[in-house]
């Protein structure tokens, strides 16, 4: 399957003029490369890191899907946590299989997100961000207060494993889940609903004056975002089999926001690139384990000061810098004559 994609991409790459196929073929090559990675380098640790990256990519891209409606939620890790704890508790106390808990946890998370989104649609801009932030903190306190049912401070253990702990099966499961989720979110963003959401983000007054039910669309965006956050969280619960409330707290939310912002919030590829770099980079520098947060912080500062559009804007910056230089050379040449 993946070899097939690899071969079809070659002629379209060389054919000048059919740029329409350039992007999909590059993506297909990339997916094929990631799919073949375990065959090339069979290491459990690297597969583990990639699985985590996949999970966070789903979460980060779904966070960005909410932001296209002009809302800036600071509770996304908490929604991941809701999905993870629902799946984990259903697996531990009811003995449900992962194939039941993962989709149902995602659906329930979306429902909770929409229920919460209904009163929160009253809040705007920063007040929305803060309201959702406090909600996320409340979720963590509820997990702490859950005692034996949610594991409390110690964390939830004894969640049923998925695919019998097999790393390679998990790798392909999460790769497939990520690809399907990304396709769905991409279709959602560029559908009629996605365009409506962008209109609301630009001006909610104009949008509601042309007959868009603003509150409903904002709630819908939150529902879709929370569905995929719950999916990622539930998958994480069954992959990791141990949950700790600290992985879903306020700082975790901020890190998800950082994944989105460092890649570039204006483009669909932004969160994917940002997550890959921020999750993978500290792993390459594993010898400096205690210092690895510094690495992430330096990367953040570099992006903030030098790349206003995030890492996605890097090619554009290089291109404009290059053409500026060439122009400068040409002028110097002309004036020299």
């Amino acid at each position: 399957m993946s070899d097939n994609q690899l071969s079809t991409s070659k002629p379209s790459n060389s054919a000048i003029g059919s740029r329409k196929w350039l992007k999909p073929s590059v993506l297909a090559v990339l997916v094929a490369f990631i799919a073949l990675l375990p065959a090339m380098h069979h290491s459990n640790y690297i597969m583990h890191i990639f699985i985590l990256t996949f999970i966070y990519i789903i979460a980060a891209v779904s966070l960005r899907t909410i932001t296209i409606s002009g809302q800036f939620p600071l509770a996304h890790a908490a929604f991941m946590g809701i999905g993870a704890y629902l799946a984990g508790m259903a697996s531990k106390w009811l003995g449900w299989s992962p194939w039941v808990t993962i989709p149902s946890a995602a659906i329930v998370t979306a429902g909770i997100g929409m229920l919460i989104g209904y009163p929160f649609a009253r809040l705007r801009a920063l007040y929305y961000a803060m309201g959702s932030l406090f909600f996320g903190i409340g979720v963590i306190y509820i997990v702490y207060a859950g005692g034996i049912w949610s594991g409390g401070y110690a964390g939830l253990t004894g969640i049923g494993p998925m695919l019998g702990f097999s790393r390679i099966a998990n790798y392909y499961f999460f790769l497939g889940l990520t690809v399907v989720s990304l396709l769905a979110l991409y279709r959602f963003e560029f559908s009629r609903i996605g365009t409506t959401l962008k209109a609301i983000a630009q001006s909610h007054l104009v949008a509601s004056s042309v007959g868009i039910n603003e509150a409903w669309y904002r709630i819908l965006a939150v529902g879709v975002g929370c569905f995929f956050a719950g999916l990622a969280g539930a998958g994480y619960a069954h992959y990791n089999t141990v949950l700790s409330p600290a992985s879903f707290n306020f700082m975790a939310t901020l890190w998800l926001v950082m994944y989105v912002l460092i890649g570039g919030i204006d483009s669909f590829a932004g969160p994917i690139i940002g997550t890959s770099i921020l999750v993978l980079l500290p792993e390459f520098a594993r010898d400096l384990k205690t210092y690895s947060p510094f690495l992430s912080a330096v990367l953040l500062l570099v992006v903030v000061y030098l790349m206003p559009q995030g890492l996605v804007g890097l090619p554009r910056i290089i291109r404009s810098w290059y053409s500026e230089r060439r122009k400068g050379k040409k002028i110097a040449h002309v004036s020299g004559n």
Binding site: F134, A145, F250, L254
Partner: protein, 286 residues
């Protein structure tokens, strides 16, 4: 009786410390719209610098408190100039800078000192006994310093020229600069005061409750609650919101045990915010 007095002193101390830290955050936020998520880390850094000055260098603790305030205040001026001012009006990049700052400060303290809970030597010793009630001077003194500083800040904001310039900027930044106010000089001053207040609160809390590298996260959440319950642009609202939050945090644990009380406190804050989506005393978010 004992319990009532303990609760009331706890309420007053928590409220005064929350307000002290929140004021510094609110100055910059009201004036330039900077959501300084690193304010919690600055507060934490203040506590640790105070500890280093007192226990490692053996400086008198009151002198050390003053030096800490000056050092962190200078750090605040640096932050305002190089980290916040270039990005005024750009919410995304400001929170990126602040998260990076928080990570650097927390990881730095974590590597240098470790995660164990440390404590500053107490600023006051002894216990005051009035009839059947006994209160330690530590508590009274902490509250007294907090209340005194709050009084000074209120005087500063309302009665001095600098403070009135700060109020003018937070009402209308362009109008203020048209009147000849040097906006960035005033905001640098506000950042100095804000960070110095946070550092003093860090030292006082460090002596009263103890220091940890992640104590800033808790305080950050509290000051965000305070500032947004009060509403953007309101200074006096922060005092009322601070008393409400202090009351929730000191009375609820008596009624409900463990994390459930925290969950209820957060739920009350969320409900209050939903009742008044623009805060209780502030203006609409832009």
């Amino acid at each position: 009786m004992e319990l009532t007095v303990a609760t009331i002193t706890n309420l007053l101390i928590l409220s005064s410390m929350y307000i002290l830290v929140a004021l510094g955050f609110a100055f910059l936020f009201n004036m330039l719209g900077i959501l300084n998520l690193a304010h919690g880390a600055i507060y934490m850094l203040g506590g640790y610098i105070g500890l280093a000055l007192i226990s490692a260098m053996g400086i008198n603790q009151w002198v050390a408190l003053a030096i800490t305030a000056l050092v962190i205040g200078a750090f605040g001026i640096f932050l305002e100039r190089f980290c916040f001012r270039p990005f005024v009006g750009d919410f995304n990049r400001i929170i990126m800078v602040c998260v990076a700052l928080t990570v650097v400060l927390q990881t730095g303290v974590n590597i240098l000192v470790g995660t164990q809970i440390l404590s500053l030597p107490p600023f006051f010793e002894g216990i005051l006994r009035v009839g059947p009630v006994s209160v330690s001077y530590e508590r009274i003194g902490t509250f007294a310093i907090g209340a005194f500083l709050l009084g000074v800040v209120i005087w500063f904001v309302n009665r001095t020229k600098w403070g009135q310039q700060m109020q003018a900027i937070s009402q209308d930044i362009e109008g203020a600069s048209l009147q000849g106010i040097n906006v960035y000089r005033v905001s640098a001053l506000a950042s100095f005061i804000g960070c110095a207040l946070a550092a003093i609160a860090g030292c006082l809390i460090g002596a009263y409750l103890g220091l940890g590298p992640y104590m800033g996260d808790f305080m950050l959440v509290k000051i965000l609650m305070l500032v947004f319950l009060a509403g953007i642009g309101s200074i006096s609202g922060i005092f009322i919101a601070g008393l409400v939050l202090g009351a929730l945090d000191s009375i609820l644990p008596l009624l409900v045990s463990g994390a459930a009380s925290d969950a209820i406190a957060v739920a009350i804050v969320v409900v209050l915010l939903l009742i008044r989506p623009q805060g209780f005393f502030g203006r609409e978010a832009t």
